[in-house]
Symmetry: C2
């Protein structure tokens, strides 16, 4: 390809093409010279789930944006997800980014542009889904943009607040820290791997398993309570949501923190639905659990000396997490089998430019 026609993937575009626009932001003063001082603690160069502004002594506002596919959102196009469901998903995808910073959500802006043929009742369903997603996270639709477009377009931004000393970032993990996750990953990805090829599979899954797979898309959960709990001391030394899949999330914390990780294969929680899909489509269940999937779990690291206190706090709040590995000095993210052999983390990381299901690039829809 000539230079003019080259089409790099998303990470390359961010790093190589527009990196110069984003570099050196974090730590700079961005407020008006005569007004209240505003510090950009984490800008685009920080590559966290949200940008972070310290707007007054210790109070930080975090804000992130997530676009969600409407059309081309495979399960929506198949009629398996409703307008309400995609609205709900939009809210959770955005609020999850706030949760990953340890922040409490304070509002969401929703961008909903719809085609001429979308009726009032269909439009209402999308908005009702966004509203319910916000309500379930204790927050509000405070603004956004509504109007026509040639097809349904869904995007949003969510805001939250957190004390500067409790802010959770992707960087901060140290060698020896425990690697943890709030629950099983890969469920949403498994659903996208399964439903489009359901008719080609000899033995389909049970109605209960199919319902669980769909429910993961219909009513995802933003880990707001978990994020706030991790921010109490703060316990977490690094944190990120798993919306790109567990492999990609671990590798991103790895890079941001400058550590490696040894992930104990046998310690990674795998949902029954993921096991069932892995068997049905003939892929390894651990690989499927690690692959691209926007589950919105929190992946975080803990100093081992905080493990018991953090576990007690989670238990007292009715929450759980799983220790799945440990940070190392290797600089590499590895999977360690029960027999002690190590290999690079399996699984297919999210790439926006690829969505061919046959290569097990599980398109998260986000």
């Amino acid at each position: 390809l000539t230079k003019a026609a080259r089409r790099s993937d998303e990470p390359a575009r961010v790093e190589q093409l527009i990196g110069s626009f984003l570099t050196g932001q974090s730590g700079s003063a961005v407020g008006p010279p005569e007004g209240p001082g505003v510090l950009l603690l984490a800008g685009a160069d920080s590559k966290d789930d949200c940008a972070v502004f310290e707007v007054s002594d210790r109070t930080c506002v975090v804000v992130g944006s997530d676009y969600v596919r409407g059309p081309k959102f495979a399960l929506y196009e198949m009629g398996l997800l409703s307008n309400f469901d995609v609205g709900y998903y939009l809210a959770i995808a955005n609020i999850s980014d706030v949760a990953a910073m340890g922040a409490a959500p304070i509002g969401m802006l929703s961008v909903v542009r719809y085609p001429r043929e979308m009726s009032d009742s269909e439009f209402y369903e999308v908005m009702a889904g966004i509203h319910q997603g916000c309500t379930d996270c204790g927050t509000l639709i405070v603004g956004g943009d509504i109007g026509g477009a040639e097809r349904l377009i869904l995007s949003g931004s969510a805001l939250g607040v957190v004390d500067r000393d409790k802010l959770l970032l992707r960087r901060g993990a140290h060698s020896g820290d425990l690697l943890c996750v709030t629950g099983p990953c890969g469920v949403l990805g498994a659903a996208v791997a399964y439903f489009p090829r359901r008719n080609e599979i000899e033995q389909g899954l049970s109605p209960e398993t199919e319902a669980k797979l769909l429910h993961s898309w219909k009513r995802p959960r933003a880990r707001v309570a978990e994020g706030r709990a991790l921010a109490t001391k703060p316990f977490a030394t690094a944190c990120q949501d798993s919306s790109d899949g567990l492999k990609a999330t671990i590798e991103q914390i790895c890079e941001a923190s400058g550590v490696g990780f040894d992930v104990e294969e046998s310690a990674v929680p795998i949902a029954g639905e993921v096991r069932a899909v892995a068997e049905a489509i003939g892929v390894n269940q651990f690989t499927l659990a690690m692959s691209a999937s926007s589950d919105f779990q929190l992946v975080f690291t803990l100093d081992p000396s905080d493990l018991n206190a953090c576990r007690d706090l989670f238990r007292s709040l009715g929450l759980v997490f799983h220790v799945i590995g440990q940070a190392t000095r290797s600089g590499m993210a590895r999977a360690v089998a029960p027999d002690g052999t190590a290999r690079p983390l399996p699984g297919v990381a999210w790439k926006h430019q690829q969505s061919n299901i046959s290569t097990l690039v599980v398109d998260g829809g986000g």
Copy 2:
């Protein structure tokens, strides 16, 4: 139409369909119970250009989102605007909303999703345009969402800060206040009215006039300095950007403030390009200047006793504004001709669901 198939326009959808999701927000506490208090001073029910959070004593963060058409952005599709231009426009459209609140911009989140066939260099041009728009307003791209989609999608959110006592809202105009605007309106709308039918027009416009019309789209200006100046005392009792066109903007301030306005036809500044287009396509120039057009001027009201001080401040900063009318107790926005006769404001307000140029619904592209 049956209820299920009904398709209302945007204002009806916001008011009647989803109003219950948005009502009663403004003035509510939205922060975490144990954390710093956060007050939602202006939520979606306030219908201002941005939502406003008071995040600490007196410091407010304002945030708004604007979607911009890529495809279906008429002049872009005609090849008259470049990828850089639409990126630049996206930044200005978003930052303008911050300016209208009297706030200083502190950052922008840009959502850029692109089709598979978009090359690296085309993508770079879009991002370079956004970056330049931010830079020209003294701010940064602090985050957002980049990735694939089936066609180009551009959306954004901009944030700003302002002292609570200097915040500018749409409500606040009183009977007797002067109605003002920072410059001529209708230029962008005139461009959209002209170029698609240029070949049907017997006598085309001069290259200089065409260049001015295009420049209004290529390098729009967010009135950040003007907004900050209006917020100094604050001078403005109400303020809004003119991105829906002058008629719609005046009517929105009218409704939000519970006043009427008498607009002096002869006092409304009309750009030479707008006069030329009006003549070429055979519409009234005042009507064209009032119609839908995303010029990003600020429309505001002033207590008459502040007129001289505000004018002096603007002059000292190299800025201008025009007094075009006065707030009344009539509750109606009227145009007053030189002979004293009054009529409802002419012009066609923005409606997202209509874009047939032949009815002079000038589609602003936003």
